[in-house]
Symmetry: C2
Subunit: 280 residues, 2 copies
């Protein structure tokens, strides 16, 4: 089925210019990242207010509902409408979500930059996650991805203060960035990727998920929930991120910059090249 919900693609200005005085006493015009409240309503019920740069609000809303396990399939979503006049994103479902009130009751405030809230018992789901074991990530593909990301145009380069996430595929020609989202909170960025994957019907089971942010528990859970076997970060990790990575068997790589990386878990899916290849 190739149904796609009605969406109103809209974005906000992503950066703004303000004036600052530097240590030389010189006035400098500086770009800063936008940050806007966006209140999510599902079938007229207020769910949450997200603080977002607003690059991909529809994908963010959909991905938020996906990653919070509030909506089980993109097919359950009939429409997504963003209205920046009222700072609202209104999601209409095809059939009412069962037990929405109950799911929203329990909240865990997490270490993630960004949304930092998980409804329900996401942690309980870890045990049921099974990631594909017949896929391999060659070291060259990792280097190719890091290279592609380095050349990607980013808000971070102009304004800083944002986190980026990317979904990538890889093949003989190296890595290809399928989606790239930045946001003032990194969990918004990962959720927007999750929403984009649903909208574009992208199967995560052989993909690479890249984040500039730290590999905390929430980040690892979300990647695993999206069935993505490869999780790569420029940053480090926390103990629970590590424990969950080990439990799910995800191939987790931290401190990935240029030709450096640390392979933490899921080592069987990673193929180290011992000799230079064409891609190197």
């Amino acid at each position: 089925m190739t149904f796609r919900p009605t969406i109103t693609p809209t974005s906000r200005p992503l950066t703004f210019e303000v004036e600052a005085i530097d240590e030389q006493g010189t006035a400098r015009t500086t770009a800063i990242a936008g940050e806007h409240p966006l209140t999510l309503y599902v079938d007229k019920r207020e769910i949450v207010t997200l603080m977002t740069m607003g690059q991909a609000p529809e994908a963010l809303a959909i991905g938020y509902l996906r990653n919070q396990r509030l909506v089980r399939s993109i097919d359950d979503i009939a429409a997504v409408q963003v209205d920046w006049e009222t700072d609202a994103v209104v999601v209409t479902t095809r059939k009412a979500i069962k037990g929405l009130g109950n799911k929203m009751k329990k909240r865990t405030v997490t270490t993630g930059c960004g949304q930092g809230t998980m409804f329900g018992n996401l942690m309980d789901e870890i045990d049921s996650i099974e990631l594909r074991d017949d896929v391999r990530l060659p070291e060259d593909a990792l280097f190719s991805l890091l290279d592609a990301l380095r050349h990607h145009e980013t808000i971070y380069k102009s304004a800083g203060a944002v986190h980026g996430c990317a979904l990538a595929a890889y093949g003989a020609a190296g890595a290809e960035i399928l989606a790239f989202v930045e946001d003032v909170g990194r969990h918004n960025a990962v959720d927007a990727i999750a929403g984009q994957m649903w909208l574009d019907r992208i199967d995560g089971s052989d993909k690479i998920f890249y984040t500039t942010g730290r590999l905390t528990s929430e980040m690892v859970i979300k990647a695993a929930q999206m069935q993505i076997p490869f999780l790569v970060s420029r940053s480090g990790l926390t103990q629970m991120g590590y424990e969950i990575a080990r439990k799910t068997g995800i191939t987790m790589i931290g401190r990935a910059v240029n030709k450096h990386y640390l392979l933490f878990t899921g080592k069987h899916r990673f193929e180290k090249q011992l000799t230079p290849t064409l891609l190197a």
Copy 2:
């Protein structure tokens, strides 16, 4: 009044060692930051589960309640007990909090690393915040603080993946770090500082608040709520962080590293030295 609630000072191991394979194929023992769930109960009511490194759980619990405006004074707290067996921190108040249920209803998921959730209408309070206007921060005091922070022993240096916050005073001898907390989420770190300030009865109105994290809306609101006139960050800022800083008139300095900084708002409180002094 110098009442101090009964607390059970307790901390968790802050770092753990795991093994990773680097790009040379060499196994490397790597320190990673701890991350533990800590469920906060107030008068037997479950409030939230925080994911924390666990450095200062009592101060974190108190500061969380303070910054969420759920408790109005340290004198309202009778006891704080942490039990890592059950991952719980139990706060007992002297008199029941009025309208706790209502306050918890509305939630804003923010851009902050860390807790990222604000109850109630914190944003509405901005207009009522008045910061002291008779205090000045000499540039030398800023440089002295950055220097002190550079020499501070940190989890960040050994394990990365954490954010740090500091509360500092300054005088003729330069800046003095009064409190320094790191956590896997930077909002835990700022909340723990807020809790420590209440416990030690520290008045924020002439202090400097330093964070390694970005100056998002939530960070600026929290600093202003603590009556702190000087907010300094190693990182950048977002548009709403800037807007709120302007509204509250807080003296906000970003990109503060070594002898560099950008002064964004509240410039009247900052004193640039035009000639080198003894402190420089």
